[in-house]
């Protein structure tokens, strides 16, 4: 099949799966997950075919002529607005990781939702399953809304594929919004919990803020250029030149600058950058596969993908190496977020919260990389992060499942997600341990053998080489903290002795959960070797920098090679290894019931970090409460109930008064009275006049003749 047609077909299997599951196979759990996995498998196969064809075509060929086609969609003026698909090198590599992670996570969800287990004793749809009693023991129970989950996951996959393969900003935005919807639905999957309901609304509204600005940017771009097609804008010198030279009339920015910032705000929302980061930690209310897929590997990556995609627009007008105003904004926000989130992650107790803040932090890395112009590094880190973050989240889900086993066994009521209740799980859950360790090391940037090292190092190298030292130092600090909290997490969870009985009784999870962990960890190790820079000492040149060349050909102009420098390498090695060691030393053998040691050392700062710098409270006070007041009191109570309803009631009462007046004073007496009077008068007159009828014929004749003669007389004498 031709590549062009195949690309169109990639988003379809998951969409079909969604409809089939929701409409037809909803009651059948096994059939539903089979359809979902089957669809993910089909799309993965299709993506692999496209990917290998793309690779085969080579960087120059694909960069110049991407796969894909367009169709006429909306008639506009004299022409047509076209939508279509396009696979250039960037899309190809993104497809690679998106398809495999979606497949792995869909498979994982089968085990996560306890397929094959009995239905729970007190399970209700909308609440997490709480276990069933079997042979006297408590065992995990199957999720009541099992099929619904797979339906939504498939819909989400459709949205992601649409976003990735689209060749214009409009269908990208369509996919963006579909994913936003699925994020809302899946965060609130257990809608019976108040915290989940609050979290789903928070996620939707906060990302909405970003989406509004992004839509403004899209509209502005369309009105300035008349198109939204990537190739027509980003590869067209004239268009870019025109955009950079026309002022936007706002803060002295050029059109390109303003559009770039507006579109970036969409990323700020979707990829949870400061200040719109507040929704991502709360999104951990959803089931762990959701956290893995949406909030680690794919949806939040979509924001970064979009900003990488519009890189030519962002960098237009600047000299090579210098930064334009949007890029400065992006770099500042990205690096700040990276450090900011890392500091919060240090003080968290919940295993998923740590990973959530870690995600925010790593997304900051990618965003900062785009901000400083490190196009390839950003794409590289995007891909590797997807692999190891998905791995870490799935691993944490596995850990939580294991802990819940222990909780059922012992009957204790403790939080299965609190790391301070875990410990020593290394021996109980070995596969989970080793894969989690690989993921954690990748996250920290452990040298050579992990993919994370190569991608992070490239960002450092780029920042240093172009002289953006502020960014470099901030990211280095963040990397130190990243390594520290990662080792903290691993040590608390897996090393030392078990701190609770529940942890003692944990055991490994089924193959549907551990297989994806293994597959992802393979990628977490090996993918980095595709991007080894040429000038790296010893290892550079053995494997060519395939990724760098391939991805760089997505840009119209080639990027300059960066010369190798020891300083960034040394920095990254120091912070990574240093942080890991520090974390291991402090947390490797924390006894039961012990306080977090850094609590003493940081003192009040720890409380600040634990409470996320009180941002949620701040937003609540400044935005949420006034909005609620406006809605409930001002609009509802005052305007709607009092003013509008008051007017309506007054009108009604006035109508009633007028009506009753008309009825009682006019209608009844005058009109009815008149009608009655006519009848009564006629009757009374008749009663008086009837005596004329005497029944005597001669009298009648007489009267007739008298009248006749009278009339005749009258007329004759006229």
């Amino acid at each position: 099949m031709a590549m062009d047609t195949l690309v169109w077909l990639l988003p379809l299997p998951p969409l079909l799966a969604f409809f089939l599951i929701i409409l037809f196979t909803y009651p059948k759990k096994g059939l539903s997950h089979s359809i979902s996995i089957g669809a993910a498998l089909l799309s993965w196969l299709g993506s692999m075919v496209v990917f290998f064809n793309a690779v085969g075509k080579g960087p120059e060929g694909l960069g110049e002529h991407p796969f894909g086609s367009a169709v006429n969609w909306l008639p506009v003026g004299k022409g047509w607005f076209q939508i279509g698909v396009a696979v250039d090198p960037l899309t190809a590599v993104v497809l690679f990781f998106v398809s495999i992670t979606i497949l792995m996570i869909t498979l994982y969800s089968v085990g996560y939702h306890n397929y094959g287990q009995p239905a729970g004793d007190h399970d209700r749809p909308g609440l997490p399953p709480e276990g069933a009693t079997q042979d006297g023991h408590k065992v995990p129970s199957v999720e009541p809304l099992y099929s619904r989950f797979f339906g939504f996951i498939s819909l989400f996959a459709f949205g992601m594929y649409t976003l990735v393969v689209s060749d214009n900003l409009l269908t990208l935005f369509v996919g963006w919004e579909i994913m936003g919807l699925c994020s809302y639905l899946l965060i609130g999957f257990w809608y019976g919990k108040l915290s989940a309901r609050a979290a789903m609304i928070k996620a939707f509204l906060v990302t909405r803020i970003g989406d509004v600005f992004m839509l403004l940017g899209i509209a502005f771009l369309y009105s300035a250029t008349g198109t939204l097609n990537f190739r027509e804008i980003f590869f067209n010198e004239e268009v870019l030149h025109q955009l950079t030279t026309t002022p936007a009339g706002f803060l002295g920015l050029s059109s390109a600058g303003l559009i770039g910032i507006l579109l970036f705000i969409g990323t700020v929302g979707k990829s949870a950058q400061f200040p719109l980061h507040v929704w991502l930690p709360d999104a951990m209310e959803g089931p762990t596969p959701v956290s893995a897929m949406i909030h680690a590997a794919t949806m939040v990556s979509a924001g970064v993908y979009m900003v990488i995609r519009i890189f030519p627009l962002l960098s237009a007008g600047a000299e090579h190496g210098a930064l334009t105003s949007p890029m400065v904004v992006i770099a500042i926000i990205g690096s700040f977020t990276a450090l900011f989130a890392a500091t919060i992650a240090v003080a968290q107790r919940d295993i998923k919260r740590v990973l959530a803040y870690s995600t925010i932090s790593q997304l900051g890395y990618m965003v900062a990389a785009v901000g400083i112009g490190a196009y390839v590094a950003a794409a590289f880190h995007l891909i590797t992060h997807a692999f190891f973050k998905a791995l870490l989240f799935l691993g944490s889900g596995s850990v939580i499942h294991g802990m819940e086993h222990g909780v059922f066994h012992t009957g204790d009521h403790l939080d299965a997600q609190d790391m301070f209740n875990m410990g020593g799980l290394r021996s109980k859950m070995p596969v989970t341990f080793w894969t989690f360790l690989i993921g954690g090391l990748a996250l920290s940037g452990f040298p050579i053998v992990t993919a994370g090292f190569w991608s992070k190092d490239e960002i450092f190298a780029d920042a240093f080489a172009h002289g953006h030292l502020a960014v470099f130092i901030t990211l280095a600090l963040a990397a130190l903290l990243t390594a520290f909290y990662t080792m903290r997490q691993i040590s608390l969870t897996f090393l030392g002795g078990s701190r609770t009985k529940a942890a003692d009784h944990a055991h490994e999870t089924p193959w549907t959960m551990t297989l994806p962990l293994v597959v992802l960890s393979v990628f977490a190790i090996s993918f980095g070797w595709l991007g080894i820079p040429e000038h790296f000492p010893l290892l550079g040149g053995i494997i060519p920098n395939w990724l760098g060349e391939f991805v760089a050909s997505s840009l119209p102009h080639s990027l300059a090679e960066i010369d190798f420098n020891w300083i960034p390498l040394a920095t990254s090695l120091t912070v990574a290894l240093g942080g890991l060691t520090l974390g291991w030393l402090i947390y490797r053998d924390l006894p039961q019931g012990a306080e977090d040691p850094i609590k003493k050392w940081l003192g009040p700062v720890y409380t600040l970090l634990e409470n996320k710098y009180y941002f949620d409270e701040f937003y609540d006070r400044v935005f949420v409460k006034p909005a609620t007041w406006l809605a409930e009191t001002f609009t509802y109570k005052w305007l709607d109930r009092t003013v509008i309803d008051g007017v309506l009631h007054s009108v009604a009462r006035a109508a009633q008064v007028i009506g009753s007046f008309l009825r009682n004073k006019i209608d009844l007496p005058i009109i009815n009275g008149f009608g009655d009077a006519v009848g009564e008068l006629t009757a009374k007159a008749g009663e008086k006049v009837r005596f004329i009828q005497t029944g005597k014929v001669q009298q009648y004749m007489l009267i007739a003749l008298v009248v006749a003669f009278g009339t005749l007389f009258y007329f004759l004498t006229q």
Partner: protein
């Protein structure tokens, strides 16, 4: 020698007397007799006009013939009614037959 108007006045007198009888007499049969007087007066009127206008044509007498027929039938029916009435209420005074009064 006799002008038409004399015959007509004579017929008018007869008619008026008949009218008086119709309006004033109590007995129904007396009323019928008065009606006969009126009809006769009418006939005299017709024939007088015939004689004084177109005596050559017999067509002027046709109406008088018809009037005879009509008055005969009317008297017959009227008398039958009187008999029928007498059988029921045993009296034939017109001003006491007032069942159709108010």
């Amino acid at each position: 020698m006799i002008p038409l108007s004399w015959y007509l006045i004579f017929a008018a007198a007869l008619f008026s007397i008949g009218l008086y009888g119709v309006l004033a007499r109590k007995n129904i049969i007396a009323i019928l007799m008065s009606i006969e007087l009126m009809l006769t007066a009418i006939n005299i009127n017709f024939i007088a006009f015939w004689r004084y206008s177109l005596p050559g044509q017999m067509a002027g007498q046709v109406f008088a013939v018809i009037v005879f027929a009509v008055s005969a039938s009317e008297v017959a029916v009227g008398l039958a009614l009187v008999i029928s009435l007498f059988r029921r209420v045993k009296l034939i005074a017109a001003d006491e037959i007032n069942l159709l009064k108010w």
